[in-house]
């Protein structure tokens, strides 16, 4: 999209160190009291990355332990704490907020041509809420741990577990409010702070996705916050809510829990859809196919997502007819997801595709999310779910969506916007091979889990010596996890290295469209020196003329050339 900025001549001259959001003040205090959405995004990026590696460590321990049918080193009690930690950390402290709070926080104002989010101090406050929540959660995990799984099913969590359930739940409570404040901030910002000419249907699809995500967050998160607090009240004061011994109903908890936690799946995946649309459009050099359908399918998923929670409870003793209704609506959600997949694929048609690292992640995403989405049909189908529910089939399915989908998109987006955030280019050759490594390692890790789940291996099992037929698949999965771990560690090194020795990126190293590429890299504190005025449609590429220019400039044909070359 082209934008006319008034007074671009006031940009500092080449070679001169520009004042940007990173270098205007180097003190720690300036970081911890900042109201700048870009700095807050960096704070979130550092803290969520740390949390992600903690959660991955737990995943590694799980995979190591499962190589042998009778366990390797851990006691069952410890194993249970490890998988619970993995789930709590990854779901509540990474997946539900990593994409919105880092990439979303950084890009939403830039993409709509705003100076900042609507409430900068609320934004900073949300990061502090997150940090308090994470600290409470981690102290709970260190001083006793929890053994309930991330789902906190009652009455085990409320009456039986002798672990730090209350502390961890209070941590989640805080982190939930962090998500809510971010959501409110995003919604208000999208409504009120779009640049002149930035109509709703000129919004990049990532903004649509963040908007839909925020709506889910502010509607759903209060429910989980209250529900988990009720668990704490039952633990501490024997408030009779969920425990049948006290007169409560354990299944009520599941309804309340999944009323949030199913939409939470869309909180995790919708921003990934948004990133995917950005990557596909920008690396195919073509406007996204069916923009309106992709945008409205996002809204449809957000709406329908609230009506399918019962598909987590087909065998939980809810009525048969309830199961049938929830199954029907779950099948309906499959349709907007399918629309997205087909539109992304169609975007490639007559494009001018550049296979740089973000695009490799984006193409990997299409493959993995397709498998993740289609295997969801087995679980949304009420009959087939009976055998598969709570087995490794479910584990594989949601990792295809959460890791194969969300993490692939996150890594793709991080690579794509890294030059914008840091002003430095990383080594794209290594990054491309890393994307392939993540794709292969991921499939090796999680594909065998589909089979072992179909054979009937329950999730959350420490031992399976009574079923040795599960072992070969578990060994394959653990081998794959090693490759996947490498694929997650490498970017931490080469991206960090680029900060010190990466070439300067320039304002638009990918030749991409979008307001965020029209300001310098890293952007100035106020994002834009002048308010941009939007006059053109979103993703306004012209693959035909681009191709002709390219043929004319033969020397640019070399793929290994500087990706920063724009033409």
């Amino acid at each position: 999209m082209s934008a006319t900025s008034i007074g671009t001549s006031e940009f500092p001259k080449q070679g001169q160190e520009e004042v940007n959001y990173l270098n205007y003040d180097h003190t720690l205090r300036s970081w911890l009291t900042t109201g700048d959405h870009k700095r807050i995004a960096i704070l979130y990026l550092i803290s969520t990355t740390f949390i992600f590696f903690l959660g991955s460590l737990a995943a590694g321990m799980i995979r190591f332990e499962l190589t042998s049918p009778a366990g390797v080193v851990l006691e069952s009690e410890t194993y249970n704490k490890v998988f619970s930690s993995h789930g709590v950390i990854m779901v509540f402290f990474f997946l539900v907020l990593a994409l919105p709070a880092t990439l979303g926080n950084f890009l939403l104002p830039l993409m709509i041509g705003a100076r900042d989010l609507a409430f900068p101090r609320l934004n900073l406050g949300s990061w502090y809420l997150y940090m308090v929540g994470a600290a409470l959660m981690l102290s709970g995990l260190i001083f006793g741990g929890i053994d309930t799984g991330w789902t906190f099913y009652t009455p085990y969590s409320s009456m039986y577990s002798n672990t730090q359930v209350s502390l961890v739940i209070i941590g989640i409570f805080f982190s939930g409010f962090s998500s809510i404040t971010t959501g409110i901030n995003f919604i208000v910002t999208t409504h009120k702070m779009r640049a002149p000419g930035m109509t709703w249907f000129r919004l990049p699809l990532f903004v649509w996705a963040l908007y839909a995500t925020s709506v889910i967050v502010i509607l759903g998160t209060p429910v989980i916050a209250i529900t988990l607090l009720l668990v704490v009240f039952e633990r501490l004061f024997h408030l009779p809510i969920f425990s049948p011994e006290l007169g409560g109903d354990p299944v009520l908890f599941q309804h309340l829990f999944w009323f949030y936690s199913h939409p939470a799946v869309y909180i995790m995946i919708l921003p990934a859809f948004g990133i995917e649309s950005e990557l596909i459009a920008n690396f195919a050099r073509k406007r996204i196919f069916g923009y309106h359908f992709v945008a409205f399918s996002t809204i449809a998923i957000a709406g329908l997502g609230f009506l399918v929670w019962g598909h987590h409870m087909f065998v939980s003793s809810q009525s048969m007819y309830e199961g049938l209704v929830f199954s029907l609506i779950s099948f309906l959600v499959a349709v907007p997801s399918a629309i997205k997949i087909f539109n992304w694929t169609a975007t490639l048609y007559k494009g001018n595709i550049r296979l740089q690292s973000p695009m490799i992640y984006a193409l990997g995403f299409i493959g993995l999310f397709t498998v993740g989405g289609l295997t969801g049909l087995f679980l949304g189908s009420v009959g087939t779910d009976v055998h598969l529910t709570a087995t490794y089939f479910v584990v594989a399915h949601f990792h295809y969506v959460m890791v194969g989908g969300t993490m692939m998109a996150f890594l793709g987006g991080l690579h794509y916007w890294w030059p914008k955030m840091t002003g430095r280019m990383f080594n794209d050759g290594i990054a491309k091979w890393n994307a392939v490594l993540v794709f292969v390692g991921f499939n090796l890790t999680f594909f065998p889990q589909f089979i072992v789940g179909w054979l009937g291996m329950p999730r959350r099992y420490h031992y399976y010596y009574f079923a040795p037929e599960f072992q070969p698949y578990n060994i394959m999965s653990s081998l794959g996890a090693s490759a996947l771990a490498l694929g997650f560690l490498l970017p931490a090194f080469y991206l960090t290295a680029s900060l010190f020795n990466g070439p300067k990126a320039g304002s638009n190293p990918w030749g991409a469209h979008g307001l965020e590429w029209e300001t310098s890299s890293p952007p100035p504190v106020t994002n834009f020196l002048e308010t941009p005025i939007v006059t053109d449609e979103v993703y306004d590429f012209d693959p035909v003329s681009e191709y002709e220019q390219l043929r004319a400039a033969q020397d640019l044909l070399d793929e290994g050339g500087n990706p920063g070359g724009s033409y």
Binding site: D147, Y156, S316, F331, A338, K350, G383, H387, Y463
Partner: protein, 376 residues
């Protein structure tokens, strides 16, 4: 260890083939659509990668017919698959009216199962092949889930309310039973097996209080051993030239060939079996064989002692059948019919007052002992 790569769980219930049909249909759909998407992505990416000489003129950005077709076709497929899945679900959830009921209690960390005739078992469920069985379940503490992969069925076992599943087993064998709802520290050990038996064996099993061989008291087991190792050949109802009778011996004073004496307690009786020549009863020689541990375990000896003790019992007690071989249950169960009731015939063979007529005719001496006529 040679690795197998099984690709499907065993099919052992009437629901399994029906379930698998829907599963494989979904699998075909998944492979088909994944194949289409991957083929399209690879083809388009290769064809339209940067710099290739292909026609890029008049690019398409929106096509209503295309959008509608990939909205409506998946929608129709989704509705069809919903219907197929729903149909299986209704069958899984609807137990036939005349199902046999078995009751299951889940508790940390075991399955306790009660059959209506009172047979109880833990972590193992025996069921007959070809019969509709309905399990009525409840949890004593936290949530559990009763999951038998080979039957393709599963339901949560909930505290405070009954849940149920049903199945009709179709293949004899032993199948995994898993708790599939995380329930605490030893969750992964809350598993066991479902054993599908043919109907006659199942009926016998039920009738024998859940044992594949008839259940024996210690004295009954001792009686069987007493006969099988040959004690009964010499130690009869009365003293003979070869050996004294053991009827009513327990607690009596025994006088030995060296003039000493002892009260016949457990210790003495055991010693007389293990080292028979330490104390030789006055009037007898060294004729008794020595039994090694392989021939008689400590458990056997305890059982034999229990048997000997009962031989001083009241005339109408089961022990009145002392030394009667026919009164001792035999290993090979005899039954005379095909109905489950046939197993009652086996029960009848367990020593009881029913057996005394045989005793009286076969061993008159024993009948006399039973009437407390003689003291050795």
């Amino acid at each position: 260890m040679p690795f197998n790569f099984p690709l499907a769980p065993p099919q052992a219930s009437s629901l399994a083939p029906e379930y698998d049909a829907v599963f494989y249909a979904l699998l075909a759909l998944t492979i088909f659509f994944t194949g289409i998407v991957l083929a399209a992505v690879v083809f388009l990416t290769v064809r339209y990668r940067r710099g290739t000489k292909v026609d890029r003129s008049r690019p398409v950005y929106e096509d209503l017919r295309l959008e509608l077709s990939w909205t409506i076709i998946p929608l129709i497929l989704a509705l069809v698959m919903f219907y197929a899945g729903a149909k299986v679900f209704v069958d899984i959830r609807t137990a036939p009216k005349d199902s046999e009921e078995i009751f299951v209690i889940g508790k940390q960390w075991m399955w306790h199962i009660e059959h209506p005739n009172g047979v109880r078992e833990n972590n193992t469920l025996h069921v007959p092949i070809g019969k509709d069985v309905k399990l009525i379940m409840i949890s004593q503490d936290v949530l559990h889930a009763f999951y038998v992969p080979a039957f393709r069925t599963q339901v949560h076992v909930v505290p405070g309310r009954y849940t149920d599943i049903w199945f009709k087993a179709t293949k004899v064998g032993e199948y995994h039973l898993f708790c599939n709802m995380y329930c605490g520290t030893q969750h992964s050990e809350m598993c066991g097996s479902v054993i599908v038996m043919d109907q006659r064996k199942y009926a016998e099993w039920l009738a024998n209080n859940g044992e594949s061989v008839p259940h024996l008291t210690m004295a009954q087991a001792g009686a069987r051993k007493f006969n099988s190792v040959g004690c009964a050949n010499c130690h009869g109802g009365t003293d003979t030239l070869r050996a004294p009778s053991l009827v009513g011996i327990f607690g009596k004073k025994r006088v030995f060939s060296d003039g000493t004496s002892l009260i016949a307690n457990d210790e003495y009786l055991r010693e007389s079996i293990v080292n028979p020549y330490n104390h030789i009863t006055a009037g007898y020689g060294q004729s008794m064989p020595v039994y090694t541990k392989d021939q008689l375990s400590e458990e056997d000896i305890l059982n034999i002692l229990a048997y000997i003790k009962t031989s001083g019992g009241t005339p109408d007690s089961p022990s009145a059948s002392l030394i009667s071989e026919s009164a001792v249950p035999v290993e090979t169960s005899k039954h005379n019919g095909d109905t489950p009731l046939a197993t009652n015939a086996i029960r009848a063979q367990i020593p009881s007052s029913d057996a005394t007529p045989t005793v009286r005719t076969g061993h008159p001496a024993v009948g006399a002992i039973a009437a407390r006529g003689i003291n050795p």
